[in-house]
């Protein structure tokens, strides 16, 4: 029990150091404030303890003192607020050209699908030194994707995408937890994040069974007949999707929104919600027809139609994936722990 007793979590992402720095600053500030209050209370309690014949000296108060201990804490709090806001803002804004991983959470497992097509359950392999963007949704209740070593957490909601990202800096095997209570096996909804050296990662990646996710999406796009309306010219009954992703779209009601993952998702499930200007609301809903995984593939396909650089790195270089090869043996660093929960889906 005592030979495995850490007091500080692993620091394995580009964000972790920033969070730790603010945390340490907060410990120092609050430690000083605690010391100040405790010292004053203990000193006064001892120095001014009741003695026979000695009366308390009445003091009404002091405006300068009140202002002092209102304004100084307020100033300190504003520093903490700004610092916290900067760390948060950076940790919430995924860099362009990130590697993308689609996450589907369900009671009580994590299903992860790389844009390149690899699928994993309760285990995610990522390379060190690359930005990884997670596009997440849930099939049932709210979950939360939490990697303590990366100081990263994002709730995963049914019915929409939420996005998070990280940049791993240290090879190793790290905990993945579900942090939002989700029912009976909530504490079993855990997994491993395997951070690998880029070369090993490439080797691991080379065992792609089914080609990139966008290719799967293209197949579904054809099978469902989407292609009959969303043509590659201007003659279709639906908007031409080429180059649309990531661009502003003008809607029928006059609003302009950015075509992001959530917009594509909503347009598939609830096509009448935000109709593009100049088109009729004739598209049927695909709610209940496409699964979450198929939705992810469709979204990845629509994204791949955007010019390179507009979305993620996966479309920039799909040729590096060679389907049909056997997966290379996976070796991990940094931790001797096994990963019994992980399964790679072939």
């Amino acid at each position: 029990m005592f030979n495995n007793f850490p007091l500080w979590p692993d620091r394995a992402s580009s964000t972790a150091g920033n969070v730790d720095a603010l945390f340490i600053f907060l410990i120092i500030v609050s430690g000083m404030m605690t010391l100040l209050v405790f010292t004053a209370v203990i000193y006064f309690a001892a120095r001014f303890r009741h003695r026979k014949g000695v009366l308390a000296e009445q003091i009404e108060g002091s405006i300068p003192l009140e202002l002092t201990w209102t304004i100084i804490p307020l100033g300190v709090f504003m520093v903490i607020f700004l610092w916290g806001a900067v760390v948060y803002f950076n940790s919430r804004t995924p860099p362009r050209d990130s590697t993308e991983v689609y996450v589907v959470a369900k009671q009580w497992m994590w299903k992860l699908e790389h844009a390149e097509g690899q699928r994993e359950i309760n285990e995610l392999h990522v390379p060190v030194g690359r930005d990884v963007k997670l596009i997440m949704t849930s099939q049932d209740v709210i979950h939360s994707f939490f990697i303590p070593a990366f100081r990263m957490k994002q709730d995963v909601l049914p019915g929409r995408y939420t996005v998070a990202w990280f940049h791993a800096t240290k090879p190793g095997v790290y905990h993945l937890f579900c942090a939002e209570y989700c029912g009976t096996q909530h504490s079993g909804m855990i997994g491993d994040i395997v951070v690998m050296e880029p070369s090993q990662y490439e080797a691991w990646m080379s065992g792609s069974p089914s080609g990139p996710l966008s290719a799967t999406g293209e197949k579904i796009f054809a099978e469902l007949g989407c292609v009959t309306c969303h043509r590659t010219d201007t003659q279709g009954r639906g908007p031409n999707l080429q180059g649309m992703f990531g661009k502003p779209v003008q809607l029928q009601d006059g609003r302009t929104i950015t075509a992001d993952e959530n917009y594509v998702r909503e347009s598939i499930l609830d096509p009448g919600a935000k109709v593009v200007n100049g088109f009729k609301p004739v598209m049927p809903t695909f709610q209940g027809i496409v699964s979450e995984e198929q939705l992810n593939a469709l979204v990845a396909y629509v994204k791949s139609l955007a010019p390179a650089g507009q979305t993620g790195g996966q479309t920039a270089n799909p040729a590096t994936i060679a389907p049909g090869l056997n997966p290379a043996p996976v070796t991990t660093h940094g931790s001797s722990k096994g990963s019994p929960k992980g399964t790679k889906v072939q």
Partner: protein
């Protein structure tokens, strides 16, 4: 009036306890003091129910494997621990017991403005409490006290509807108490009891009442919507039915964050009275302490989404709610500094109520400062939904609110019961609670930063968390003893305690000017207040306050 007869009985004075006997005289009473005692008995029952659940949880977490109870049982334990402790103990604790007993007496009134509504609010509490108990005994509920959707409306296989309705009904008890206090404080102050002569306990309860009246209806409606979605499949929160799960969180926290101030503000009021009395001083910066209560109540309504920084709200909303959260921290800090300054040049006594007040100061300071960590966006992402949050809010709600409640119960016990509690045991209990509390909850800050998520019953995949969990469990047993002791000696003192004088602490405040225990209508004739609050200089200089003394 019956007061006149009281003075002519030399052997045993008539008071609110012995004026009438029989079950009926209690169950149909409209006396605010008797209703306070009805509440005291009921909430003590629920406190030990909730505490029992907590001890079972701590025992389960002693070892990493889930070996004591099953997963579903554990989930029900923490859910019912939260619901029972929040809705059936902490929220009614100080307002419904000490507030009920003291608000009329402190302002020189015979009773609350609406005595029958006061009784009604206790019956609503009991109806809610019986439903909750029935719910617990027939299977319980496993949604967490937070009822997050769509889990609670579409996935949980437990008694969500019954628990939701129990809390819904209980909510009206809280609303009516708040309403009663606001009207009473506005309309029934004795002549001369101006707003700036009110004890700060009253200011704290006034601020609390505003939250109860404005906040509680929102959570009540929200729980009805949960019930409606679960029972009738109305699409409100579940995306499959066209609803929005984040809407639930906004509505829930719009009440449930201010609810923290329903728990802590009255406790701050108690601590203020105790610190003034046992340092024999006016409160330093009376107006700042009074206004900080009101500021906390107002700003407390503007910070709810700081529970949702990783829930999927926009980055900009998060920035605003983080900024506003610090606006609550300022008045809280102001209070701590004013209490500390009150000690300066005082004449400090170390009786048990004061030890609880010291304990409050220490634990509330730590609880409040760790709130700064959680309001800081970048850090919150990592520590939210971990044991860091558990430790933080227990420092506020148990370290703060419960320390204040126990301190107040000791302080006013002579007035309530007419008996003195055993001082030595009480000091020992205060010490045990303080040590047990810190041992239970401080390790959880470390656990939280390490990343241990809350609501996990099995951590066999991360055995590195065990040492801290063992410490926490050890602390919880000490804490349990600390809470059991006062119940034992309070009960003991009701029979064997020395009879209490009318004003055993030589304290300021109208409630000490009547006999112990008071008569049914508190004062023989309406008091006229000609002095400022906390006039300890006049009391200690031997001046007598010109208030009517009975007996």
């Amino acid at each position: 009036m019956s007061m006149a007869t009281a003075t002519v009985q030399p052997v045993e004075r008539e008071d609110y306890l012995n004026k009438h006997y029989g079950v009926g005289s209690w169950l149909l009473t409209t006396d605010h003091k008797r209703i306070a005692l009805l509440y005291l008995i009921s909430i003590t029952f629920f406190f030990f129910v909730g505490g029992f659940f907590a001890l079972l949880m701590r025992l389960e977490l002693l070892t990493p494997a889930g070996d004591l109870v099953q997963a579903d049982t554990y989930n029900k334990l923490f859910s019912m621990h939260g619901m029972v402790m929040v809705f059936f103990f902490l929220i009614p604790s100080i307002p419904a017991v000490l507030g009920n007993f003291l608000v009329p007496m402190m302002i020189g009134a015979k009773d609350l403005a609406f005595p029958k509504i006061n009784l009604l609010s206790w019956y609503l509490y009991i109806i809610g409490g019986v439903m909750m108990t029935h719910c617990i005994l027939t299977g319980g509920v496993d949604t967490g006290w937070t009822f997050y959707t769509p889990f609670s409306t579409a996935f949980s296989n437990s008694k969500v509807i019954e628990a939701g309705l129990a809390i819904f009904i209980n909510g009206f008890s809280s609303i009516l108490t708040g309403l009663n206090f606001v009207v009473t404080i506005h309309r029934m102050r004795a002549p001369g009891m101006t707003w700036s002569r009110l004890p700060l306990f009253i200011w704290a309860h006034y601020a609390t009442s505003i939250i109860q009246i404005l906040g509680t209806p929102v959570v009540a409606i929200t729980l009805v919507l949960v019930v409606a979605e679960r029972a009738l499949h109305l699409g409100i929160f579940d995306p499959k039915l066209g609803g929005d799960p984040l809407l639930f969180q906004h509505l829930f926290w719009f009440y449930s964050h201010p609810a923290v101030y329903i728990m802590i503000l009255p406790s701050m009021g108690v601590v203020t009275e105790v610190i003034a009395c046992f340092s024999r001083k006016r409160i330093f910066g009376y107006h700042f302490v009074a206004m900080s209560s009101v500021a906390i109540a107002v700003f407390g309504f503007l910070v709810w989404a700081h529970h949702m920084f990783v829930a999927g709200i926009s980055v900009y909303a998060a920035l605003v709610f983080s900024l506003l959260s610090y606006s609550v921290a300022v008045p809280s800090a102001v209070k701590v500094f004013n209490w500390t300054a009150t000690l300066y040049k005082g004449s400090i006594h170390y009786d048990a109520p004061m030890l609880y007040a010291f304990g409050f100061l220490g634990l509330f300071t730590i609880g409040g400062l760790t709130g700064l960590f959680l309001a800081a966006l970048g850090v919150d992402v990592h520590v939210t939904d971990t044991y860091f949050v558990i430790a933080h809010f227990h420092y506020i709600m148990v370290g703060g609110a419960l320390m204040g409640y126990l301190g107040g119960l000791h302080f006013w016990w002579p007035k309530i019961s007419g008996r003195l509690y055993p001082e030595g045991w009480a000091r020992l209990a205060a010490l045990i609670v303080f040590i047990g509390f810190n041992l239970t909850f401080f390790p959880q800050f470390v656990l939280g930063y390490l990343g241990m998520p809350r609501r996990y019953y099995d951590y066999s995949h991360m055995p590195e968390f065990q040492v801290l969990n063992v410490l926490s469990t050890a602390g919880s047993t000490i804490l349990g003893i600390g809470y059991l002791l006062p119940m034992i000696y309070f009960l003991w003192s009701m029979r064997y305690g020395k009879p209490a004088p009318d004003n055993p602490w030589n304290a300021a405040g109208l409630e000490w000017q009547t006999q112990s225990p008071p008569t049914t209508f508190n004062f023989v004739e309406e008091p006229v207040v000609t002095w400022e609050a906390y006039n300890y200089d006049e009391i200690d200089a031997g001046h007598k306050q010109e208030a009517p003394v009975v007996g």
